[in-house]
Each structure stands twice: as structure tokens, then as C-alpha cells.
Symmetry: C2
Subunit: 386 residues, 2 copies
């Protein structure tokens, strides 16, 4: 069954991504206790699967990312979001590996989510869509790999929410992950991070145009609420030093305050732009669902409160990367992962990259991250005989 | 002229604060280039002014504070916001000092602000109220002191935005300040802090009930927008360790997620409560104006970019206090003040208090802050012969 969509939704503007459809005979078992069916997963690939099917890399995207990791984005026209790291000759070398990235379940770029049509009511799910967890995302990705005939991954890699998926992959399907590279992430979402997400959700829900989540039928869009949510979140993706370096207290188009509520400072203008451009490419309900999925993530809690048990007996090799100025997922969160892997006797390398770019460093030009990733991936490839 | 107010505004609920009224013959010269007249300043006092008029202490309140530093709040019924520090036998000893705190110009607890009636139009100012600066607040306080017959202050003290006023007092009226105690503050508002404020303002302005600032006439209140603004700001007042200690990932009324957008986590419930209770006591436009005043604050910029010049030749003695876990006004900001005071050869003590309570530590039970303040104030009192 093909999901129907309002014509101005981002995923309706993206007919180019391949889609794997799962019918009522192949439901997605979700942590919320429901079987989701039918559903579909949109994805993109780069490179070629080798004859042994042993060179597959799964990239897991972050909260507001999507499957367009190395292709021009169909809505924004911008380059793929991880072209810094992925491509011919890059650390994730598309001349050597078959790279897959799928839009997570619950999102809005072609995979089934709250903007999709609920077959039970023939209208968009809205908040009737079941709450999504990181584990649900991973289960759906595993079903996609089954469909593509890929038994196991050479590498599972991702940053932020993508890193949560990497950890969940290693915990849920250890025999399917040869190497795991979680970046700028943590084994659970902290109280402060939950708090920031909750503010964003309240901003969306406070917008009358949100219409209790039924804005698609109401013909409205909670653009103001979603814009405010994005502005607030964006601050947490950067660091104070990066903001100071990029913007400082510089005025927009002048050297003095206008004594008004206009965007006097460059930082204000920049944030407003972030909010405005985001609402053109993202669905407000999807934002609610994916922030909630991150909030619910607590890998230790799933294993009796002992994180090491999540990795007990694993044969996966790990490399954990953090950034010194990332205050959303500070190095202490990565250390917790590393300590648990040590306790589980798993092979693990840990690299804390000196950077002033904050959380978003994983998306940016960070040579130290590139060389750490390249070294880990090349060694893993040798170990796998690639 | 007495300002008329809608009956449900906070300041209308506070008829008990003394008010100093300034007529058209005594306008307030504002940095925005206008003369504000008439205007009024609401204030509270504690203790007794001595015969020499030499024991006056001015407390400067923070963004959402007010004049009720040591008296039960007329709207919330809560104790005064600085009863930890001020009172009989406390570091700011009301048995020894005459303590004054006035509601800043532009706020909403009895002093003239955007909710007051504009005599030119006979309707609430709304955004027609001139933009306010920290210097405007200090000028208005100086006019209040003149009215009260107080030539100079024994001590000027405040935290956060209150600390900005203390620094501005020392720079603008050095001969009127014997001792200055700025706490948890900085010599300018950082790009990150401007960014957080801008998100709050956009949340308010995104609320249709804000009605372009004319909500008083429209009979509406932008409660949702102001609530979201407060929720976001509140996160910045605390520290990640404090949030972890107080709330962690504990669920509200249970041990498992509800798989909904209810306030599952205690931190969510707490934040929602902060938002709801704030809108009952604060005016949305006043929030816009006071956040803007903080954004505009840059004491060095007023002195050719050299902070030390703000204090050149001062005879005021300073004590600067910061808190290790304050990431809104980190210790580096206090150090910048101290370095400038050193460069200006001003007597200055500097205390960084070890605390995990974040920015709000200055309002809380912090024995190290109390003893540092007591030591500084007692020594200053001896030097002044009190």
C-alpha cells in the first residue's frame, strides 16, 4: 500500500528515494506494544555491494537528518549532510563500501510517520501514530536490510541520535554488526536534554496552527511553533566559543542597536533563519515523535540498569568519538559507553576530538575526526578481509 | 500622575509597595533618545537609615525579580527572593543597614513599563514604550535615591541582571558607591545568552494572543508563549549536574514511559509548572523589554571597547562572586570584570564558589557565598565607620 501525502509535505517532494514497503503480513513490532502495518522505509545508497555481501555500511541519521547523506537534498538543494565523511576516497569510501542510509520510522522524508495516512481512518495519523523508540528505528532498519539481502553490516555508524541507533544495533543485533562507530552520543538522554526537547515540543503544541496534531486536515502548519523549537535546539548544537567566534555581539547591518525588537544582532538573524528554513523541510509532528524517541533512550535501563550487560559477549569492535566542546553529549557520556564496553571486554578505541564547534562538529570539517574514523574503518576492513 | 492598570496585571495586585512618582518636570533620560515622563518607581525597604545617611544598601534585582527581596510576595505569597542573604543578622544585616530595592524601569511590579498607560494615547504603551537599557534602570534608581535623600550608597549589590546594574552603577556614579558586590554576572551579554533570549522573545511573539503587543486592549494574554519562554530560560538557570541530581530520568508517578506526550519525566512536569506559575506573576511585554536590556549591555563598548576605562579612577571597593557550575554567566565573565578592575587599580576581591546549582545559586542557600559576602560587607562597614 502506497502512503498518500498532502502535496506540500517534504516527503511528497521527494519521489526519488527508493522505498521498501512492508504489508500487513510483515508488521513492525513497536515498543509501544503495537504492530505497525503497513509501513514503508525510504532509503538511499551509494557504492556497490560486493559478491560476498560483506561490505555494507549502515549510516544512521540524527534527529533532523534524513537518507540524503551523499546526495543533493531534494527539498533544500543542499549537498548531502555527510559528504564530508562519505564518498569516493573519503573515510567511508564509496569506492569500497556499499553505504545505506534509511529515513527513520516516525520521520517525514518518505518513511512512515505521523504525517502518513492511517489505513484505519484514511486520514493522517497525527498523534494516533504510536510513539517511536530508538529500538523501533533499529528494528525497521533490520527489516530493510533483510529485504535488501544483507545479513550483516561491516560498519554501523552515526552521530547524535544516529549514535544512539548504532549503540542499539550493537546491543540488539550484535552478530549483525562487525564494527560500530558511535559519534557525539550517549547511552541515554540526560535530564537537561529531555528538558530542552520538552521546551521544543511545548513550543509546537502552543501554536494554535498545530490543531492538536491535526494540522494536515486543518490545512494549517505550526510553522511559528516549529521555528521556535528549532531556534532553541540549534543553540544546543553549537558551543559558546563557536557562537562567540562566528557572531560575537556584532550588529546586523550596522554598529549600533536600533532600540527595537528587530534582529539587531547577527546571532538573532542567524537563528531566525535557522527556524524559517527548518519548517520548510520538516514536519512538526515528526519532530515531536523523534525528540520523544531520544528522550526515552536509556540503554542501561533495558539491561537491568547495567550498561555493560547491553554489550555482554559482543564480538563487535567499537570506536567512540566525542568532541571537547559538545555540551549536549559531553565526553563524559562517551566515557560511560567506553567504560561499559571495557567492562564487557569488548574491543574499543576512544577518541576525544579537540574542537570548539560543539555538538554539530560531527557534521563539519573536523580532520581529527576524519583521521580517527579512517584509521578505525581501515583496520576493521583489513580484519574483515575487505 | 497615577498609572492605571488592568485589574489582573501583577502590579495592580500589589498596591502595598511605596511608589516614587516623577512628573513631566522630572523626565527620565533614556538611552533610546527619549525623555520618559511621567514615570514611577515602586520600591521596598527594610531597616532604618542612620542619621548620617551613610548606611544605605541598594539591591538590584534580576530579570524576573522585583522589589520584594525580603517581604512576602503579594502575588505568589512566597518569601522574599533574597531572604537567604538579607535580614536581621544576615550578611546584609537589616539591623545595621537601610536596604532599598526598586522594581526596574520597564518591569511590571509597579514601576512604569510597557503595561503602563501611555499618557499620549491613553492606552497601554505596549511596544510604544521606549527600549530600556541597564543604564536607564540605574538612572531611574539614582533619581529614586535623590528623592529619598540618599546621596551615596554604602553598598550596591545584585546577581545576574542585578549584577549588571551594580557594574553600571560603579561606572556611571562611582562617587555614589562605596562598595559594590556583583554576583553571577558579566560585563556584557554573550552571543549564546542573546540567542537564548531571542528564542524566548520569538516564543512570546509567535503566540497569536500576544496581538503585536496589544494584548491588554485585546483582552488576551500570551500565556503559552510566555510559558515556553520561561521553560527554556529556566534550563539555563540550572546546571546539568543539578538537573541530574534533582530529576535524573525519573518518571512522574511510575517507573515506565506512558508512550505519550504527557509529562512522563519529572523534569518535564517541573518545567511545565515553572512556565505556568511564571505567567501568573509576569507581564509578557516586560519580559521582552528586560531581556533586550540585558542583550544590549556591554560596558566595555560604552568605553571605547576597553572595560578598564569604565572603572578608571574609581574609589569603590569591589567583591566579585561567581559559581563553578554557572554556564549562563561562567566564571570567565567574572574574571574579565576582575582583570578590568585590576587594570584600573581598583580594590577587588574575587570568590569563585564551588557549587553544582548553576546560575540560580545566587538565590539559594550557598554558605560559601554568604560568608564571602559577610566578610566583604563587614570589612567595608568598618572602613566606612559603620
Amino acid at each position: 500500500m502506497r502512503a498518500r501525502l498532502p502535496a506540500d509535505l517534504p516527503q511528497a517532494l521527494d519521489p526519488r528515494s527508493p522505498v521498501a514497503r512492508f504489508g500487513t503480513d510483515e508488521p513492525l513490532p513497536m515498543d509501544a506494544g503495537v504492530l505497525l502495518a503497513p509501513f514503508q522505509i525510504a532509503y538511499q545508497t551509494a557504492g556497490t555491494l560486493n559478491a560476498a555481501r560483506s561490505n555494507a555500511v549502515l549510516i544512521c541519521h540524527a534527529l533532523t537528518g534524513d537518507q540524503h547523506f551523499a546526495h543533493t537534498h531534494p527539498v533544500t538543494g543542499k549537498p548531502g549532510w555527510w559528504e564530508t565523511l562519505v564518498g569516493p576516497g573519503k573515510p567511508i569510501d564509496t569506492d569500497r563500501y556499499f553505504v545505506i542510509c534509511s529515513n527513520v520510522i516516525g520521520s517525514c522524508m518518505g518513511s512512515t510517520g505521523p504525517a502518513s495516512i492511517d489505513p484505519a481512518t484514511d486520514r493522517p495519523y497525527g498523534l494516533d501514530f504510536p510513539l517511536v523508540t530508538i529500538r523501533d528505528m533499529v528494528r525497521a532498519q533490520a527489516m530493510l536490510l533483510d529485504r535488501l539481502g544483507i545479513r550483516d553490516l561491516f560498519l554501523c555508524v552515526g552521530g547524535s541520535m544516529g549514535g544512539m541507533q548504532v549503540l542499539q544495533w550493537a546491543a540488539l543485533y550484535p552478530e549483525r554488526v562487525f564494527a560500530a562507530l558511535p559519534i557525539a552520543t550517549g547511552p541515554r538522554h540526560s535530564a537537561q536534554n529531555i528538558a530542552f526537547h520538552e521546551v521544543g515540543r511545548q513550543a509546537i503544541m502552543a501554536d494554535p496552527a498545530w490543531a492538536d496534531g491535526r494540522y494536515l486536515e486543518a490545512g494549517t502548519r505550526p510553522a511559528k511553533g516549529l521555528g521556535v523549537a528549532r531556534m532553541g535546539a540549534h543553540i544546543t548544537y553549537l558551543s559558546e566559543p563557536a557562537l562567540h567566534r562566528k557572531f560575537g555581539r556584532r550588529f546586523q547591518g550596522g554598529s549600533a542597536p536600533t532600540f527595537s525588537f528587530n534582529a539587531d544582532f547577527q546571532i538573532e538573524s542567524y537563528l531566525r533563519h535557522q527556524g524559517l528554513s527548518f519548517v520548510e523541510r520538516f514536519d512538526a509532528n515528526a519532530y515531536l515523535y523523534l525528540t520523544r524517541a531520544m528522550d526515552y533512550f536509556d540503554l542501561a535501563e533495558d539491561h537491568g540498569g547495567v550498561l555493560a550487560k547491553a554489550f555482554q559477549g559482543t564480538k563487535t569492535r567499537f570506536c567512540v568519538i566525542s568532541f571537547t566542546s559538545d555540551w549536549l553529549f559531553p565526553t563524559s557520556e562517551s566515557r560511560a559507553i567506553v567504560h561499559a564496553l571495557n567492562a564487557a571486554s569488548a574491543p574499543v578505541a576512544f577518541v576525544e576530538v579537540e574542537s570548539d564547534k560543539g555538538h554539530d562538529a560531527f557534521l563539519l570539517d573536523e580532520p581529527t575526526m576524519f583521521s580517527a574514523a579512517r584509521g578505525f574503518i581501515d583496520a576493521a576492513a583489513r580484519a574483515r578481509g575487505l
